[in-house]
Amino acid sequence: MRAGSREVAESCLDGITMEMVATYCDRLHSSKPDLAARRIEAIGFQVGQQLAERYTRDRPRFTDHLEVIKFICKDFWAEVFKKQIDNLKTNHRGVFVLQDTRFRWLTRISVDSPLTPSEANNTTLAAAQAGGKYLYFPCGLIRGALTNLGVPCAVSAEIAALPACSFIIRIKV
C-alpha cells in the first residue's frame, strides 16, 4: 500500500494540533505568546513545505503567483481541511485575503454569549483571543506551501466571527 492512501481518524490529527497549541501556548511559553506563536508557526511551515511537495508531484509547473494561490485555495485546502477556501480577494499588488467561513479548528470553540449589547464587542474580542492561537499552525502551513512553490510571503490571520477566519498573504517582492 502506498503511504499516501492510508487514513487515520480525524480526531487523531485534531488531538495533536490542539495539544500542540496547549503545550506551546499554555505550558511551555505561557508568558511569551509571541515565542509560542513562532514555534507553532515553524511546525506548520515544515508541514506545509512537505505537503506542497507531495500534492504537486503530478502536475505541471505553475506559471504565476495567482495560479499558486488558487492551488492553495482549492486543492491544498481540500486535501488538508476537506473543503475549499470560500472567498479569495486581492488588491492586485501582492496581497491576497483567503476567507474560510467555517474553519475546522475553530468550529468547536465557544465563548460566553453576550448579556448586553455593550458586551458584544468584548465577546468578539474574546473569540479572537480564544481562537487566534489555533491559527498559528495553518498560517505556517500556508507560508510553507507557498515558499516551497516559489512564492516567498508573510501570512497572518484574523477572526471576525467564529468559526469564520481570514488568512492574509503578503507576497514579498
Binding site: 492510508r6 487515520v8 480525524e10 488531538g15 512537505q50
Partner: protein, 184 residues
C-alpha cells in the same frame, strides 16, 4: 455487507483524514520539540504528557462510537484496545501477548504503525521514544475508565528492534468517588 471485525466497524464510524497529513504534522512537532529542548528525555516526557491529555478526551470519542460494552477483566480491556481502539483511531490493529501470571501486565505488538512513515532517527536522537505519545494516550484513556496503568515501549523499530511493542501494566483499579461534586 457487515464488516467482519468490530474494529473495522469502529473505524468506518469515524471521520478520516489522510494519514500523511497526520504523520507529517506529528513528525514536525517532534522535531520542533527536539530543537527546543535539546534533551531527548525531556521530549519523551512532553510527548507522554501530550498523549495523556489527548487520551483523556479520546476515550469519550471511543466510548460513544466504538459500540463496546463494559470489560469484565483487564484481559478483555487489553483486547479491546488492541483490536478496536488502535483500529478506530489509527486504522491498524495490535496483537496482545506475553501476559504475566496474574494477568495484570501484557504486551501490545503493533501490526503496523502509521506514526513512523517517512521517519528515520539521526544519531543524536538515540534515546528518543518517537511514538511516546501513544503511551500517554493509552494511560490517559484508561485513567478515565478507572484504571491506573503504566505504559512503556518495550521494543521500538526506530531504535533497531524488530517490532513496535508496548508494555501495558495495570497498577490499580481506582474506585470512583461518590458523591460527585456538582460545582468546580
Amino acid at each position: 455487507m457487515a464488516p467482519a471485525k468490530p474494529g473495522d466497524a469502529a473505524f468506518a464510524n469515524v471521520d478520516h483524514v489522510n494519514a500523511e497529513l497526520f504523520t507529517l504534522t506529528y513528525g514536525a512537532m517532534v522535531r520542533q520539540l527536539l530543537t527546543d529542548f535539546e534533551d531527548v528525555e525531556e521530549v519523551n516526557k512532553q510527548l507522554d504528557t501530550m498523549g495523556y491529555n489527548i487520551g483523556i478526551r479520546l476515550i469519550d470519542d471511543f466510548l460513544s462510537k466504538a459500540n463496546v460494552t463494559r470489560c469484565s477483566e483487564f484481559r478483555e480491556t487489553a483486547d479491546v484496545i488492541a483490536k478496536i481502539g488502535f483500529k478506530m483511531f489509527l486504522g491498524v490493529t495490535a496483537t496482545v501477548s506475553n501476559w504475566n501470571a496474574d494477568f495484570t501486565e501484557c504486551s501490545l505488538v503493533l501490526d503496523d504503525n502509521p506514526l513512523v512513515d517517512f521517519v528515520e532517527l539521526p544519531e543524536t536522537c538515540q534515546g528518543l521514544y518517537y511514538c511516546n505519545v501513544l503511551c500517554g494516550v493509552i494511560r490517559g484513556a484508561l485513567e478515565m475508565v478507572s484504571m491506573r496503568t503504566e505504559v512503556k515501549w518495550a521494543r521500538d523499530m526506530l531504535r533497531g528492534d524488530d517490532a513496535y511493542e508496548l508494555r501495558l501494566k495495570l497498577i490499580e483499579h481506582v474506585a470512583e468517588e461518590y458523591p460527585y461534586k456538582d460545582d468546580d
